[in-house]
Amino acid sequence: MEYHTFSELRESYAFILPLMIFILIFVLLPVLGTFINSFFRDISFMQRKFILFENYKQLFNDSDFYGAIRFTILFILVSVPLEIILGLIFALILNEAVPFRGFLRACVLLPWAIPSAISGRLWELIFNYNYGLANFLCIKLGISTGPINWLGSSLGAFLGIVIADVWKTTPFVTIILLAGLSSIPIELYSQAKVDGSNFLQRFHKVTMPLLKPVLIVALLFRTIDALRIFDLVYVLTHGGPGGATTSLSLYSYRYFLAGDFGYGSAISVVLFVIAFILSVVYIKLGRFAELGT
């Protein structure tokens, strides 16, 4: 046990206090308030009433809620692997001695840096049925004979969101993986080259094993982030058509917007619990491995 004087302790608490107060008031209390609220019937202009698990019972019979879960899980399963694969390819390229490296890195960062609400609007125009860039390219490149109804069909809207999200978040994965790649000692590669291995063998035997911890971090980070997707679906498809692209966050938001805070809270508590479990897994896997050493 370390022993500290009272004044030392007082100083250390004083320095961490503002941070704790901010997080307590503007993050922890709201989460707690949401949790408590999920046990109430709490609708604007109506008497607030304690109803215990009624909201959760209602959730179990709510087909739209299952629809939101289905969309959110499908979105994670499709978009996250795409982002990891594409991010890995980009990172491998940027890790080479390419010309204009600074320019390339700036290019990669740009989609990540702009507000997703704005990129959502941009993709809405790209997917425009009559004169959008997507249909123009699809027809010119012979991918499709006629215009595709991107945002008006369930599959099209889903793909549209995946494409827009891959564009926006691949940069983040690239940056993380690039840091992992550049920490692999170059001697390992030259040694493998001397041993007569080809590019694919080196990737398999040297790059992948050493990159694995960073890949896991990127994977979990992206999963937790994709789980709470909101901006893009709100702007690009409004959750449509017919609720086909309504994520859990958006579904919960709709109830808040309509003034039904009890039911909206119950939905977000479910999302919170899923995210919390994932983040515990992440912290155990990612952090302890590094800080333990």
């Binding site: 609007r121 941009l122 901006d231 702007v235």
Partner: protein
Amino acid sequence: MIEEKFKSVIIWIGCVLLVVFCLTPFLYMILISLSSSPDFLTKLGQIEFSFKNYYSVLSSKSLHFIDYLRNSLIISAASAFFCVIIAGLGAYSITRLALPGKMLILFFVLAVSMFPQISLVGYLFKFMSSIGWINTYFALIFPYVAWILPLSLWILVSYFAQIPRDLDKAALIDGCTGWQILRKVIFPVAAPGIFSVSLLSFIFAFNEFMFALMLTIDYHSRTIPVGIALFQGLHGEIPWGNIMAGSAIAVIPVVLLTIIFQSYIIQGLTRGSIKG
């Protein structure tokens, strides 16, 4: 060296595809914003350049575009400022002082950063309504600071931990207080870290959408992402030219910061997520 040749060709193709993938949407945005009608692709070659979209977005009072942009800049700058100070104090306490349970605090803060925003926003709305802050800058600045603090703390802890202890021991012997050491020794030495946290905080606050959507009502405090997301035409037809002109102007601050200071942003992102 056929393999080397082959590899360099592959990498060249990869670079071209990377640039096309990342920049095409931006070029499309700029083209649409500069053309008099958004359907120029259907009548290719007949693009009619004009600045009328930019002119109408910047001059029309009823669009409140300038108001949104000003709100965004003020709110993001204030959030970044408070975030750096508060995270700096916290990181100093964790790396330098006798704080019990440091690791616990770090992991607790990390867990907090993974909370979904939607699990806060309903209560925040009620809370902000009850204290009369809805539609004010405070309604966004305070939650933004709290929201961005975890990442900032992690980044700064990693920077502060690298500063040799002897530096602040010397200052301590000279009779400096903790606050003076932080201000005169740690902050200047960790300036790159401070700068990258400021940049990231600014970008995160500038890009935030859900809180801004829920906690603001009109141009008094509405930020630019919400302004552009809710930008609709008066007569049914969406004014794409105007929206793209507005978007192009709105992304200038973050695009410039990203291009000029990319190495700081990359440093911050990697330290905040993997290097611990």
